[in-house]
């Protein structure tokens, strides 16, 4: 498929692979004249823009040249700094070698010629840039003359060694693609010489014994360092020979397909199995050199192509220069020429400049160009799929976060023998990895019921103390006797505290410490905060200042846990050791605290405490209190002053339980009856009434009132 064309009788050079966009440089060809017999020379640069479907190439720079060109080369020298687009080197007549700055040609700023020498004799037909060192250029001319130029020092060339004998023209020079100090040169006689620049001498000469080879082209294998091809221009032997320097006595194989002499060869750098050749039979062929077969053929053209070149950047593209004055750019991927026709239609359409050239107010319909069936020549693509189209790796996502991957494994140093693994991997991609893992763990724990281990695991992996505590608590919560363990986690062990309390009570330590005064409430927390540090004084004085600033009602609850009474009490309370706490309170004569605590501590403790309290307090009221509190009504009944019998009865009425009441009333009554005087005996009756003890009432009544009275009868009747 033809992509681009330009009418030039010129030698050509592609921009290097790393250059973007792709350019094609043309220089007026030296040994051809057209009918005008003009000897002007031009150097031009065209942009090869495949986004534009037309066959045209945009000229990006041009300059008249002093010499016509035998050979043009585009190198990377200075690329990236001094010469962002590299340099062009042209070989001309009379040994002239000219170096141009591509940047200056493109921008038309400054003198584009940045170097020129005339060291060679005769036309400079052979040029090549070293693929490893962009500053090294090899050139060849007449008289077996080969020079190696360091572009940093363009004036003084080096030689690869003594000139080969007999003297003859150099048609091609070419650097080895693998070993940077190896250079080869080819001569029209059919001989090729391989030079080692380190040894500064030719190391091997390759020539066919038939002596009919007439070397027009030469190329090193892109990947195998010891192989090269030579093409023969001789019509009697229109072949391409493949040589391997390891067996340099005869060619490895011969590619035979052209019917007349081969004019040029170009080996594809992107796929060593593609070798282009053009010949005097007007054909351009692409070979698979290893198989010896033609994999692509461009249809017969009317004229010879004297030069073919693969595009270094776009591997399916090559250019061909013909003697009839055209440079064409083709793709080896096949296709037909339909695009070209459409382009012509577009061209005609656009030549009208606007869509309404006649001002009719209606835009013209698109031009219908009659289809020329003869032109839709179908060019089949390469028989062999080129390397660059074969996707070696791949990845694709699938439902459920699955990832499908496959690919080659490139074993280092095994460039020729790649293995193609036949596995495809299906992977699970989980983005919220940790989350899912945690969820899974929890699910498992819940299912198995083994929550303690789960918590234990969490405790061990916890990073923050807070987390660890949390998991400890959760774990303990799930255990038996969780409360005790929780307390232990809090730092309160019942056993330890009991010991403390015991020792405290026995040593009487807390007694030595003064109890906090009512007006000194902050002292406790302060002491806690200050602990026993040396600079207590200074700090406490300043902190006291702040304490005073804080309103009393703003102060927060601080639970003292020190070793004094307060501390011990609170610790005992934290652990629910009411007995101990009460004991401490009693000891400190904080009866109110003791009683309050005892209430919380349960009946038994309360009674105990009350008993002890009353045992300590010996006032009238306290007996009453004691009796009431302890519900010891009998004491009251038995011990009360008989004059206070009313009060005693009131107490009984108020407090005593129903079943005891009768008995207690009777007891009171009995006391009044037996111990008291007559008045009191009467009162005894009231007691009996209260108790509902009719018999005793009547008895008492009768005793007090000798005469029978209706009341007695009435009462009895009742």
């Amino acid at each position: 498929m033809k992509l681009k064309e330009i009418e030039r009788t010129a030698v050509q050079a592609w921009s290097p692979a790393n250059n973007h966009p792709i350019y094609l440089a043309t220089g007026t060809s030296a040994q051809q004249l057209d009918a005008s017999f003009s000897t002007n020379a031009n150097l031009e640069i065209f942009e090869v823009d495949f986004r534009d479907p037309s066959l045209d190439m945009k000229q990006k720079g041009a300059l008249p040249a002093s010499n016509r060109f035998h050979k043009l080369m585009w190198g990377n020298f200075g690329n990236g700094s001094a010469e962002p687009s590299g340099v062009l080197v042209g070989g001309g007549d009379n040994g002239v070698l000219t170096m141009y700055s591509v940047q200056r040609i493109l921008t038309s700023k400054g003198d584009p010629v940045i170097g020129q020498t005339e060291k060679h004799s005769g036309p400079v037909r052979a040029l090549d840039f070293n693929p490893f060192q962009s500053n090294l250029l090899a050139s060849g001319a007449n008289d077996s003359e080969i020079f190696i130029w360091d572009l940093n020092n363009f004036s003084v060339p080096m030689t690869p060694g003594t000139k080969s004998q007999p003297h003859e023209d150099i048609s091609v020079v070419s650097w080895n693609r693998q070993v940077q100090h190896i250079l080869s040169s080819a001569h029209p006689s059919g001989k090729a010489v391989v030079w080692d620049l380190r040894k500064n001498e030719p190391i091997i000469k390759v020539s066919d014994h038939s002596n009919r080879m007439h070397c027009s082209g030469m190329a090193w294998h892109p990947e195998v360092a010891t192989q090269l091809v030579l093409s023969s221009e001789d019509d009697r032997l229109p072949v391409i020979q493949i040589w391997d320097l390891r067996f340099a006595t005869s060619p490895l194989s011969q590619l035979e397909g052209h019917t007349r002499g081969v004019l040029a060869v170009s080996w594809c750098q992107a796929d060593p199995e593609l070798l282009l050749s053009s010949a005097k039979d007007n054909r351009i062929l692409c070979w698979n050199p290893s198989m010896g077969e033609v994999v692509y053929e461009l249809p017969i053209r009317s004229q010879w192509c004297f030069d073919v070149q693969w595009c270094p950047r776009n591997p399916s593209v090559f250019s061909a220069a013909t003697f009839d004055g055209w440079i064409n750019v083709y793709s080896v991927m096949g296709g037909n020429l339909e695009a070209q026709q459409r382009t012509q239609a577009d061209k005609i359409s656009s030549s009208f400049n606007n869509l309404d050239p006649f001002g009719t107010g209606q835009s013209l319909p698109p031009l219908q160009v009659p289809e020329q069936v003869t032109q839709t020549t179908l060019i089949p693509p390469l028989k062999k799929p080129p390397k660059w189209i074969r996707r070696p790796v791949g990845v694709s996502f699938a439902f459920g976060g699955k990832l499908i991957t496959f690919g080659h494994t490139k074993a280092p140093g095994q460039q020729m023998q790649q293995t193609y693994p036949h596995q495809v991997f299906i992977s699970q991609v989980t983005t919220e990895t940790e989350f899912l893992l945690r969820s899974k763990e929890l699910q498992m724990a819940l299912q198995s019921g083994n929550l303690l281990d789960y918590c234990q695991g969490k405790i061990q992996t916890a990073k923050l103390p807070v987390d660890e505590n949390l998991w400890n608590f959760l774990k303990v919560n799930l255990e038996q006797d969780s409360r005790t363990k929780l307390l232990k986690l809090l730092g309160y062990s019942k056993e330890d505290l009991q010991k403390k309390i015991t020792s405290c009570l026995s040593n009487g330590i807390p007694d030595k410490q003064p109890l906090p005064e009512a007006g000194d409430k902050n002292a406790g927390p302060d002491q806690l905060l200050m602990n026993s540090s040396d600079d207590v004084a200074a700090v406490s004085s300043s902190s006291a200042f702040f304490d005073n600033l804080i309103p009393q009602n703003m102060s927060t609850l601080e639970i003292p846990v020190t070793e004094d009474t307060d501390g011990l009490i609170s610790q005992a309370l934290l652990l629910g050791n009411f007995e101990g706490a009460v004991e401490l309170c009693m000891r400190a004569e904080r009866f109110a605290d003791a009683i309050i605590l005892a209430i919380a501590g349960g009946d038994k403790l309360l009674k105990e405490t009350q008993k002890r309290y009353f045992a300590k307090q010996k006032t009238n009221l306290s007996v009453l209190l004691s009796s009431i509190v302890q519900q010891n009504w009998q004491d009251i009944v038995c011990m009360c002053d008989l004059q206070s019998w009313k009060e005693a009865l009131a107490i009984l009425l108020t407090y005593s339980k129903h079943e005891d009441y009768t008995q207690l009333c009777d007891m009171l009554g009995a006391r009044l009856e037996s111990e008291g005087d007559a008045a009191l005996s009467n009162d005894a009756c009231l007691c009996y009434i209260s108790s509902g003890n009719v018999e005793r009432l009547v008895e008492c009544w009768v005793k007090n009132h000798e005469t029978s009275s209706p009341l007695a009868l009435q009462v009895q009747a009742l």
Partner: protein, 323 residues
């Protein structure tokens, strides 16, 4: 949190040459593979198994890609090859057979992609002859062909359909009317361009030309959509660059590129996860990397998938894109 990638199934395809594509069907139960050995194979991979269901022969060259049609149309697989053919395979009564063969391209057919099922059974095919073909099933075993000639000079390497979701439909109030879907797809080619094509009155027109790559575009992937206003396309290239293209306006006219990363080697393939929040990138260095956009819009590599080891290898955390 970094993702975990663990191999759950290694399918030995027994292909005799390089594998070029492997695709799971809609439900993730079957795997289709294709190779330079000219064959297409289908495996049942349920429950970690790998049972060969079909070994499809019919292509006469390397088979580049396979694509599963939506299951509502049955079990249908398309394949494309260097032999310039597109073959549509169909399972009938448990047997896979060729149901249609398209030979309308003049060069290697490099990519096939089925349109969203809402549009019917439509297959887009990109070829090295520069054209893109659209094959629509019209019933009774008939296929209608539309061809975009010279879509990409020198060749089209990839095609990918836009989801059948109107951008922004998630946010905007449903009007009650059937949404007015516009068929679109993206393509990438040897002219270094990503192009967006749009159907207007039954004709396919070039809607956008996205220029950022400096070498062949190897793959394009239009991201699935849940109806957010932004449309997203990923493209990768021979130049080692992966670009994320986004378009926020409803008309679909202003696309802007963001460089995801510049790799040292050719990038062959990009693939979005179903939820479109992870992009998998496969390069010539034989590495698969997963990328995710952070809240601040930066793309970060979240995982390196080492195929040889079949699991997660060293994870390059916070490997930021090099703008």
């Amino acid at each position: 949190l970094l993702p975990q990638v663990s191999v759950i199934n290694t399918v030995d395809t027994s292909h005799e040459d390089m594998i070029h594509d492997a695709q799971m069907d809609y439900y993730g139960t079957r795997l289709a593979t294709c190779s330079s050995d000219r064959s297409v194979k289908i495996f049942d991979v349920r429950n970690g198994g790998q049972i060969l269901i079909a070994d499809l022969r019919g292509h006469e060259g390397p088979v580049w890609q396979v694509a599963w049609a939506h299951p509502m149309y049955g079990n249908i697989l398309a394949s494309c090859s260097y032999d310039r053919k597109v073959i549509i395979w169909k399972e009938e009564n448990g047997t896979w057979e060729k149901t249609y063969e398209y030979t309308g391209h003049d060069s290697s057919v490099n990519s096939v992609c089925w349109a969203p099922h809402d549009y019917g059974l439509i297959l887009a095919c990109g070829s090295s002859d520069g054209a893109i073909s659209l094959l629509s099933y019209t019933g009774d075993g008939q296929w209608e062909v539309k061809k975009i000639s010279n879509a990409h000079t020198i060749g089209c390497n990839a095609v990918s359909w836009a989801p059948a979701v109107v951008p922004g439909s998630l946010i905007e109030q449903p009007s009650g009317q059937k949404p007015n879907y516009i068929k679109r797809f993206a393509s990438g080619g040897c002219d270094n361009l990503v192009k967006i094509w749009k159907e207007e009155e039954g004709q396919w027109k070039e809607e956008q030309k996205l220029e950022a790559h400096s070498d062949w575009v190897r793959d394009v992937a239009w991201a699935p959509s849940i109806g957010l206003p932004t449309s997203t396309i990923a493209s990768c290239s021979q130049d080692g660059r992966v670009f994320i293209w986004t378009c926020d306006d409803a008309s679909g006219n202003s696309w802007s590129p963001k460089l995801l990363h510049k790799f040292n080697d050719v990038v062959w393939h990009v693939s979005w996860s179903i939820t479109a929040n992870i992009l998998a990138v496969s390069g010539g260095d034989n590495k698969v990397t997963l990328w995710k956009e952070s809240v601040d819009g930066l793309w970060a590599c979240i995982s390196d998938v080492n195929k040889g080891q079949g699991g997660v290898s060293a994870v390059t955390e916070g490997q930021q894109n090099e703008q």
